[in-house]
Every structure is written in C-alpha cells, then in structure tokens.
Amino acid sequence: MALLTDELRAWIGREVHYPAREELGRASIRYFALAMGDDNPLYVDDAYARAAGYPSVIAPPTLICETCQYAHRPPDEDGYIGHEWHLPVPDSRMIRAGNGYEFMRPVLPGDRISVTWKLEDIAERSSSGGGTQLFVSSVATYRDAAGAVVAVNRETLVYQPLGAQ
C-alpha cells in the first residue's frame, strides 16, 4: 500500500508560526538543567556566567529547540501539547530519525523566542522489515524579538505503520 498519497504530498511546503508568548525565563533554564542533572553554573549563576563573558546566565543549547513549549494548546489523546503537522497517516508509530541543530548565539533568559516550522519533504522508503515507512523532514527556525535567527533545527521523523508489522 502506498503511504505517500497525493493528499499527503499537498502538505509539503506548509508553514506554521508560533509567536513568543513571554521571555524564556530563568526558571525554564534552571528546570531544564535540573532535569538533566547538569550542574554547569553557566545556567544558574549570574556572577559565574559574567566571569565567563556572558551578560547573565545562558540557556543550555538544545533547550529552545525542544518542540512542545511554543504551541500552547490543550493535550491531545496522546497527552501531547507541542507542534505537529497532524498528517493524514493511518495508524502508525512515529520515531525520531535525527535532528540537525545550528546555533547562532547563546540564548539569554530575557529572550523572546518565536519559531516557524516548515514541512520540507515527505518521502516513502522501504523498511528493513519489508514494509514501507514515511520520512518527514521539517525545519524550525527560531528568532529573537528583533527577528534575528538564533537557531535552526532540521528534524526528520519516521512514521511506521503499526498494522504492517
């Protein structure tokens, strides 16, 4: 069965923008570092961060690339509140294939970060198990309040049909 339908192809090129709702904030930075068990003082100690040449504490690099913090919607049946395309794919399991992060500058607690997602490509490939799966490539561009790009996240997700396995 072909997974890549014309209906699905029409999604390629779509964009969605999530505006910044508030500053990133010190609490978010400290929470992420704590969850990671990361005791790097750059994330919690202003005097230390200034001695290392930063204006204040900074965010761990991958924090702003985390997908769920921007969409602001109630949880769906999977409990998920983040960005997703809601592609018309039959009962399937979604697996991450990889992310390519590019960072332009350290992000500070006062930064108001917005993100624009673009669906760049959908491709169908055969899996090792003999079935087919869909590779969905998206790019997220993160901008500060002045519109300057602070990070880019190229993400590939794989949709594996559950019925076919």
Binding site: S28, Y31, F32, L34, A35, M36, G37, D38, N40, P41, L42, Y48, A49, A51, A52, G53, P60, P61, T62, L63, C65, E66, T67, C68, Q69, P75, D78, G79, Y80, I81, G82, R93, I95, R96, A97, G98, N99, G100, Y101, E102, F103, R105, P106, L162, Q165
Partner: protein, 146 residues
C-alpha cells in the same frame, strides 16, 4: 573562579572526550518531559507504550541531543559555544537505560577573531548498542586575549 576553557593549541585530532554517563530512570523521564513541556504518554505510561509495540517508556530522542551537547561543553569549558550538532538516532532507549556519551576530535581549524573550531564525532552508547551518532562543531576562543 570559573572553570578553565580548553586551550585550542593543546587539542589534537584524535583526542578523546571524557565519557559522560547519563541514566534515565522513570523519574528522569518525567523530569525531562516536564522541563520541556512534553506530556506525551510515551514517556511515562507503560501500558500506552506497549500498545505502540514498545518494550518500555521511551527516552525522548531530543534528550540524546541534550546529553551530547552537555558532554561536548563539559569537555570544552564555559567559553566554548556549540555552532552545530547533527545527530542521527540509531536505536531507542527506555526507562532504566544508562547512556554513555563518547567522542573524539576529528578536525581542528582556525576561524577569524582568534577563534578555533573543533569538530567532534560523538556516539551515545546504550550498553553495546549505539543509540545515536553525532557530528558536533564547537567554537573555542584562543587562550591569548581571554
């Protein structure tokens, strides 16, 4: 007194990064999900995970990137900056797994402004299994003029 940043003049291609171990218990998965606004059932609801034909609750794939970034910055020091981190997932990890970030320097080059760029190849191991592989570019200032 801040930790010293690695002196790019001392870095050689082939240098190994210290291994960085990170265990993801069920509590850690809940903490990471909470800190990243990720309420997806895959990360804490075992019955749900099994309904998706998974053996356990799933470690968020983006957490792999966070572990690799941390390992690179712990090696390079507070003035270093990650410019690029490209990771590919090779296998899934589940609650209770201990992941170990390894890596080595594969290239060094000078940038303008007294900066240097170290390219790392990193691996995230889950026992004998490779969880993720990454290529990471870290910008490091020269010791002179710090």
């Amino acid at each position: 007194m801040i930790r010293p940043t690695i002196d790019p003049a001392t870095i050689r291609v082939g240098d190994a990064l210290p291994a960085r171990e990170q265990c993801f218990t069920q509590v850690d998965l809940v903490a990471y999900g909470a800190a990243t606004w990720d309420w997806h059932r895959l990360h804490y609801d075992l019955e749900y995970a099994r309904s998706k034909k998974l053996p356990g609750t799933l470690v968020d794939g983006q957490a792999f990137g966070a572990v690799l970034a941390r390992a690179a910055l712990d090696w390079a020091g507070p003035r270093a900056f990650i410019m690029r981190l490209n990771f590919k997932m090779k296998s899934m990890a589940f609650a209770g797994d201990t992941l170990v970030a390894q890596g080595e320097v594969t290239a060094m080059r000078a940038l303008h402004g007294g900066m240097h760029l170290a390219t790392l190849v990193q691996r995230l191991m889950n026992g004998e299994r490779v969880c993720a592989e990454a290529v990471t570019d870290v910008r490091i200032p020269s010791s002179a003029g710090r």
